[in-house]
């Protein structure tokens, strides 16, 4: 283990901006994509449910 403190870990030997900029954006992208997908899925499902209950009311 080459890190002596948390601060050193985040400083990344002076390259903190670049390293955390890379990892941060990657993490963000990999988090946002599934969230957007979840929303998309939920939107379809709710609209389908709404349609379905409308159908049933008509019958």
């Amino acid at each position: 283990m080459q890190w002596n403190s948390i601060g050193e870990f985040f400083a990344m030997g002076g390259y903190g901006f670049y390293v955390w900029g890379s990892f941060g954006v990657t993490a963000l992208a990999l988090l946002i994509e599934p969230l957007l997908l979840r929303k998309r899925q939920n939107d379809v499902v709710t609209s389908l449910r709404r349609e379905r209950s409308a159908d049933e009311r008509q019958k």
Partner: protein
């Protein structure tokens, strides 16, 4: 034998694939998470500091896997699209459209992390190097595919048009790569070259491989999830969808 064929066709239709995908997704998420933690651990705590690049080299643990994925996903996407075009199977085309955004995202991440790496190492965000340039063009090809599909309202047409574009792109990607490489070597002397990176320590290689696995599992999970949403949207008027959303 015949049993197997029936089996295959059974999962080739959206209506049986939908629940199957639903069951598979959590497993791929779990695998992705495990590999990701392992990869990050190797990347930050096992791998030593690089002699010439200091800590900045740690970007490699996402940069290289992201680059690999962006290229790999394009081929997978084109395969699905080609199958969809020739066999006229809806599911294959849906998989192709489901992969594209994730592939584009990895291409973007490759560019982004590469740029953030280039600034401290080369002193500039960008150079017109063969690999960088062809990665940029790969991103354009992804975006072209997505824009074309988005611009066509009828899904069937969008699938086929996208498939042709993807296939043409697959023929072109190697041509583009080699042309750019040749162009660059003719122009540029020995100024900067990525292949001059230090011979990689074995731990580094492991870290990259594990992270690549994590990204791969992530891609499968996300692609399946997106494919499920696409199935519902496109087939919303069929009976199986009505039961599927119970």
């Amino acid at each position: 034998m015949s049993n197997k064929i029936i089996h295959w066709f059974k999962y080739g239709s959206p209506q049986s694939f939908y629940p199957l995908a639903g069951k598979m997704i959590p497993w791929f998420w779990a695998l992705a998470a495990i590999f990701c933690v392992a990869g990050l651990w190797i990347g930050f705590f096992v791998a030593p500091t690089d002699a010439t690049q200091g800590e900045a080299y740690r970007i490699i643990f996402i940069h290289v896997p992201a680059s690999w994925m962006s290229m790999f996903l394009y081929i997978v996407m084109a395969c699905w699209a080609g199958i969809g075009l020739s066999l006229n199977t809806r599911l294959s085309s849906m998989m192709a459209s489901a992969i594209a955004p994730t592939g584009a995202m990895f291409a973007f991440l490759s560019l982004w992390t590469g740029a953030l790496w280039g600034k401290p190492m080369w002193g500039t965000w960008w150079v017109w190097d063969a690999r960088l340039t062809s990665e940029l063009i790969l991103l354009f090809l992804y975006l072209g595919f997505m824009a074309l599909q988005a611009a066509i309202d009828e899904p069937r047409r969008a699938d086929k048009a996208g498939a042709i574009l993807a296939l043409v792109g697959v023929v072109n990607v190697p041509i583009i790569y080699f042309s750019v490489k040749w162009w660059n070597t003719l122009h540029q002397g020995a100024s900067i070259s990525m292949s001059k990176a230090p011979t990689m320590a074995i731990t580094m290689l492991w870290g990259m491989l594990v992270m690549a696995l994590a990204f791969w599992m992530y891609s499968i999970a996300v692609a399946l999830q997106r494919a499920r949403a696409i199935m519902l949207e496109r087939e919303r008027h069929t009976d199986w969808v009505k039961y599927a959303v119970e």
